[in-house]
Amino acid sequence: MARLAEHQGKSILAAAGIAVPRGERVRSAVEAGDAADRIGGPVVVKGQAWTTSRASQGLIRFASSRAQAEEAAAAILSTSVGGFAVTEVLLEERLTIATEHYAGVILDDRRRCPVLLVSSRGGSGIEEIVRAHPESVAELPYDPVEGIPDHAAREVWRRVGVRGVAQQRLGEAVVRLARVARAVEARSAEINPLVVLEGGRVAALDCRIAVDDAAVFRHPELGIDVAREFGHPPTALERIAWEVERDDYRGTFFFLQMRQGFGRGDRVVAFHGAGGGGSMMAMDALQRRGFSVANFCDTSGNPPASKVYRAARILLSQPGVDGYFGSGSGVASQEQFHSARGLVKAFFEEPLEVPAVIRLGGNGEDKAIEILHTFTAALGVPVECYGKDTPVDDCAARLETLVARQTARPTHGPRPAARVSPARPYAFATPTGSITFDHAVCATCASKVCVTACVPQILRLADDGTPVLAVTAEEAARGRCIECLACEVDCAALGAGGGRIGLPIPGLDAYRGATGAE
């Protein structure tokens, strides 16, 4: 998700006129000591991790000297949260608190507007405060364009019993918080605790802001590198997947790792869904068969075959899966053969070593099923494909049967031959890659399937019978070539094998090298 780090949120609050403690971020105990010296006086040492109740996990500690600060930082930096090491701590001046409160802005799906939530109590989690002390909580739905009027902000604090100068200053703070929420297009922006200091000043001691993933494109100033809501910091493979998706607006590719560190026989499968609801139904069906999924993946919204291909390659970069399962809703409005070609290309390049069951129902499903069945025959592992009239539970049952039969690694037939440099190359760029025909091979081809199968019909036969572009190279690169992959996939199965499509996945080879997954 586009969740902002505590220090980043605090600097945005400070710029909007909400006071925050002076502080510095560091990544080692020594640096913590230096920072403590610069800040001077007692400090708070806070581990930067995506979790609530940090105090109870020892991630928030207090120090009154350089030595104590180093010790606290060292302790925190040796911790891990949810399997992720804490790599950064924030040191801040320790302020003297008079009272602690809570303020948060959320976008409410019921009322369909932003809502300010405040509590006269702060510190612990807001869910807990609502449960234990409902009388201390008040909410204020407000207009997304106008923001919160000053009088309404004071009134909401009055309703939870805050009086006097504190009421006025906390009111100012939430008016500013609402401005921040709109400025960064937050789905939620919370300050807990929002404190009144001795002397009456108001300050934000913590800050959690989650930016709307769909709005990240117009907020380069936030420096968000992965606009995804994962519940954990993005893994290396999730980052690779995000790079595939980031600038390719054709359809959607979403990838999320749910399990790691499993092995063959653990009944964990690579899951390739299409559409949120259909994917969920498919995962439920797998669960009923005793499988768990290594990942969630959704390629939907009419993605090109190239995007489905990249998704499949990334899914198969998870070592130890027992099978590959693909299913969407079963009755898709989009043409399904694009996904089929993407999968075929990926399965051959890997090559696939576990059984796959793919349910590609909807428009063009007959063609999709034919492509997947006939073109994967040489793979050496079973690949079964079904359409809309086969329920997803039946598909999950088929996968179970195939996995049970698959006792050893398949003896592979054709691992794709190391690429020989083409004798007579004819190449052009596609939107996200390149196509190379070896015209020496093409000249021997009787089928010319590349021309007939090309979905956008941008190829023609030259006088010598070899395929060439019927549009300009620039037009092909700008999107006339939709990367349907027919000129490689159909060519490999039905033609002479002269067509090759290069679709780079930045970082994937390095990742596989580092993880030992071949």
Binding site: M1, L107, D109, R110, R112, C113, P114, D143, P144, V145, R182, E185, R187, D212, D213, A214, A215, F217, R218, R228, E229, F230, G231, Y249, T252, F254, L256, M258, G275, G276, G277, G278, S279, M280, M281, M283, D284, L286, R288, V293, F296, D298, S300, G301, G328, S329, G330, V331, A332, S333, Q334, E335, G361, G362, N363, K388, D389, P391, V392, D393
Partner: protein
Amino acid sequence: MAIMVDETARVLVQGITGREGRARARLMSEYGTRLVAGCTPGRGGETVDGVPVFDTVAEATEAAGPFDASVIYVPAPLVKDAALEAIAAGVKLTVLVGDRVPTWDVLEIVRAAERAGVDFVGPNTLGVLSVGRGVLGMIGGRAASAREWFKPGPVGVVSRSGGMTSSTGYYLSRAGVGLTTLVHVGGESIVGLPMPAVVRRFQDDPETRAIALFGEIGGSQEERIAELMAAGEVTKPVVAYIGGRAATSGVRFSHAGAIVEGGRGTHEGKVAALRAAGAVVVDRFDELPAAAARMIGG
């Protein structure tokens, strides 16, 4: 009857000269939708498959008369302005097909629609299809598929998932349970007409005798339908499947889809609320058609 669209509704397509707009306008026309005009800024005076194109929605309205619905096919960053334009021109129902529309933009569209007293569907919606009468959006993908997949009858279908709207409609039709209207409300957390609002319309539609619902984890729409049933505001029988039993808490699935936060919007909670309100909730999706058939006495 049916809800939201029929053969008499006068329809506009915004972004009709784009690749997607052009293709989907053809689907709508071929299915029988009364497509009156298109709109693309700077392209006024052209025609697309015989449909006149105007520069602005106001101009289209002056030239061709008021619209019952507008379907918008423009890139996500431009959706807000196109929707505000349709709303300002008095279009009664705007359909926002695009996905990844920023949520604060949706909030502004909500605000404008509420002030104007009009409705919108989406964003991130496949649209609305009234069987044999008309389609707004792209349910079915091809007119021939839409005719083959969805048969007329007494059941209304609603879902937050586009694919599952089509699936539910197809499997019910195949089991001999015909449909009035299929509505994909859109996959985002904040949408123009959420499922409870659609269920109310089915309740008011004399042709709809039962409601089939594909729900999923996250949000509160399914619970709010249960509230409407418990309050006696929805009395027609409801049959439902709730997806996402296997999903993990605290994780957002898909770019838009379901998220479970702090026990809110869980699978168990939704199933229990709907059952307590009298809905039939099936455990497996493929049990839905038979359950719907029993409901309408088929």
